[in-house]
Structure formats: C-alpha cells, structure tokens
C-alpha cells in the first residue's frame, strides 16, 4: 500500500499521533484527541506503552553511538582560521558604508531631521567600530589576523594559567560571557569531550598567581557554571 493512499479508521488515526504524544511534540488539539480516545478505550493505554518502549529503545540505540571525537571541533576552527578573515573584510566594508553615509549626509536633499538622524546613526557605527577595534587589539587572538613579536602578549597568554569549565544547560551566551569577563578569562578551546571549554586567565596586573581565587570566583556562579577544573 502506498504511504499516501492509506484509508484510516479512527483508531489508526489516533495510533499515528501517539509517537508525537509520547514525546510531547504534538498540538494541543491532537493531544486532546489522543486523551479523549484513551478515556473511551482504556485498553489503548497498552499502545501508548508500546510507543514509550520504542522511544526508550531509540534513545538507547542513539546513545550507544558515542560521541564525535574531541578533535572534530578543533578541525572546524582550524578550517575557519585557514579561511580568509571575513571579520576584517566586513569591518572594512562597513567603513566604506559609513563613509558613503557621511557623504550622503552632506549631499542628499533630505530634511534636516533625517540628516541629524543619519549623523547620529553614523556616530553609533563609529563607536561600535572603535569598540570592535579595541577588543581585537586586546584579545590578540587568531581571529584578529594580527601578528606579535616573541615574548609579546600572545606568548604571555600561552603561559597563563588555564582551566576547564562546563556551563549549566540553561546558561545563555550573555551569562557565559559575563561570568568569564568577571574573572578575566577567555575561551581558547572547546567544547571538548564532556562539554568542557578550556579557558585562559589574563595575567593579573600585580603579576601574582591568583588563578585559584579566580577559579573559586567562577565556581561561585553556580547558576551559570556547572564545574571548573584547574588545568595547565
């Protein structure tokens, strides 16, 4: 029988909804149909149990497949690093757009209010560009496309203390960024097996070894951070 040609009775229609009912990925009206049918036909509970068994077996089969190798994620970022730097080209493109905006401001026959609005927008873009530039200079990461002399900040960073951190499932990107920023850390690798990220602490201004204090501060953010393990 063709998949599209099947003639259904009520029970078969409900049976088709059951897998979605047991996963909860079903519309309210369809869930109601299943529950109403179940009330009228208590023996149908056995069929719902069958679907629950199928779901458990499917999860077991998938979980037995293991994980992608720890190197897999590294390869993605190696590939990204080997590609042309779109961030720089985008920044340049935006700069050209900004210049064009400024030029238009002086040449376009628009009302004064619109011109001031355009000028304000241009100022915002300039400010953002300045912030991006500052971050890129400070981070010195491979994404900046910059270069440094031996013994420079990049080499110091390589010797800086590091740790492995796992975040809570519900943590948002903003939470994670803030938590790391608070302790002067940046992500340098990951996620590796177990969902851990390797972070590196920026050298302290005093030069003192304060990694344990910073790790403790990170651990204290329990609503964002799940685990922190010291590492070198």
């Amino acid at each position: 029988m063709n998949e599209e040609m099947m003639q259904l009775n009520e029970r078969e229609e409900i049976e088709m909804l059951v897998p979605f009912y047991v996963t909860g990925r079903i519309s309210t009206s369809d869930a109601l149909r299943v529950e109403t049918y179940l009330k009228q036909n208590p023996d149908f509970a056995e069929h719902i149990e069958l679907a629950r068994d199928e779901r458990a077996a499917t999860a077991a089969v998938n979980e037995a497949l293991g994980f992608p190798s720890a190197r897999a994620t590294d390869r993605i970022f190696e590939q990204i690093a080997s590609e042309p730097q779109p961030l720089l080209s985008r920044t340049l493109k935006e700069s050209r757009g900004l210049l064009a905006t400024v030029r238009d401001f002086f040449t376009a026959p628009s009302p004064v209010a619109v011109r001031y609005a355009a000028m304000a927008a241009a100022a915002v873009v300039l400010l953002q560009a300045a912030i991006v530039g500052t971050l890129m200079t400070r981070s010195g990461g491979p994404e900046t496309g910059g270069f440094e002399v031996a013994g420079g900040p990049k080499e110091q960073a390589a010797n800086a203390p590091s740790a492995l951190v796992a975040f809570q499932d519900g943590a948002t990107l903003a939470d994670m960024t803030r938590a790391l920023k608070d302790v002067g850390a940046t992500i340098v690798e990951g996620p590796v097996q177990g969902g851990f990220y390797r972070i590196r602490f920026a050298p302290s201004k005093s030069g003192a070894e304060d990694a344990p204090t910073r790790i403790a501060a990170l651990k204290a953010q329990q609503n964002i951070v799940k685990t922190v393990l010291p590492s070198r």
Binding site: E3, E4, M6, E12, E15, M16, L17, P19, F20, T23, G24, R25, I26, E46, H47, L50, A51, D53, E54, R55, A56, A57, T58, A59, A60, V61, N62, E63, L65, F67, P68, S69, A72, T73, R75, I76, F77, Q79, I80, P86, L87, R90, E143, D169, T172, L173, M176, T177, I187, G190, P191, G195, Y197
Partner: protein
C-alpha cells in the same frame, strides 16, 4: 532541548563572525547531529566529517537563516541533504537488505537466543534492522524529538506522509520483533 530563542541569538552572533557563539552552538547540537548522521551513513569518520561540514556551512551562511524553523531543525535539514548527497555518490541509499538479513540469520547463536528473551534488547536490535528511510523517521521523532511539521521540513515530504511513514516503520518493527520471537500484540 535548547531554547530556540537562544539558538537564534547565537546565529545572529555567528553571522557577525563570533567564534564563541559558534562554539556554543556546536556544544549544544554536535552530539545529536553526529548521531543523526551516523545512523544515516553508518560510518563514523564520514558522520564526523559531514557534521563539520554542517557547522562550516552555518559559519559561512548564518546570515541566511530566516527564523522560519527552529535552529535544530535547520541543522538537521542541512545535515540530511549533505548525507544523502554523499550516500548517492556511494549508491547506498535504499532498503538495507544486509541489516534485515543479519537479524534473520542470527537465530542459531545462543547469545542471540538469550537476548531474544529480553524484549528491550530485541527492540533495539530490530530498530537497527529497519530501512534507512524508516530508521530516519523513527530517530527524528523519538530521539531528535521533532514535531510532524518539523520532520516534514527536514525530510521534504508532506505532513500526512510523515505520519503514515512512521506508522509503517512501527508496523515493520512489530514484524521484525515477531521474527525475533516477540509478539508485541500490535497491529
């Protein structure tokens, strides 16, 4: 499952070439995506390579995501297209006769006979014996936890076909279980 709003936010950041956002997205979806691909292509190295291709495509084209579907659904859709394209090259798509034969042929193995008594283990073995097409729909619904409309989008078939294909996959599962000596009492 992750919040779709958070995932969409990550994609916006990735479109601005934010590598931390990409790492976070990978952390959330890598394992499920890899397993989905591995179930389709049955080759660990190929599944890993395809998963990486999906994330590279996201890195390059995150700006094209229009928010019409959940990010997870979008990723699975890209992954499936890439897997099919690769499998076509290897001419491997279609009925998995080898796997079905494997189940029937193992009757004499005492270890397998013991396993048959374990209904859950038999069910897991029979899931492996389904065709690629049936395995895929079962995985998408039960493991990837996609709705009818999301499966329709990923597989590229009408919603009614999603329901009937899943129905037949489950019936086939009952037939394979019967061969294993387990009567599920359905259909």
């Amino acid at each position: 499952m992750t919040s779709s709003a958070d995932d969409a936010d990550l994609l916006q950041r990735i479109a601005r070439q934010d590598q931390l956002a990409l790492r976070t997205l990978i952390g959330r979806h890598h394992v499920r995506l890899y397993r989905f691909l591995l179930r389709l292509v049955r080759d660990e190295a190929m599944a890993e390579e395809l998963a990486n291709e999906v994330f590279m495509e996201v890195w390059r084209n995150a700006g094209r995501y229009e928010g019409r579907s959940q990010v997870g659904t979008w990723l699975l859709s890209i992954a499936r297209n890439r897997a099919i394209s690769r499998l076509r090259k290897r001419r491997e798509l279609g009925w998995d006769e080898d796997a079905a034969a494997e189940i029937a042929d193992e009757d004499d193995d005492p270890e397998v006979t013991t396993q048959k008594r374990d209904k859950a283990a038999a069910l897991r073995r029979c899931l492996e014996g389904l065709t690629v097409e049936h395995r895929e729909i079962i995985d998408l619904v039960y493991y990837q936890e996609r709705s009818v409309s999301e499966v329709a989008e990923i597989v590229g078939i009408p919603e009614n076909t999603v329901k009937t294909r899943l129905y037949y996959a489950r019936k086939k599962l009952s037939e394979l279980m019967l061969v294993q000596g387990v009567d599920r009492g359905w259909p």
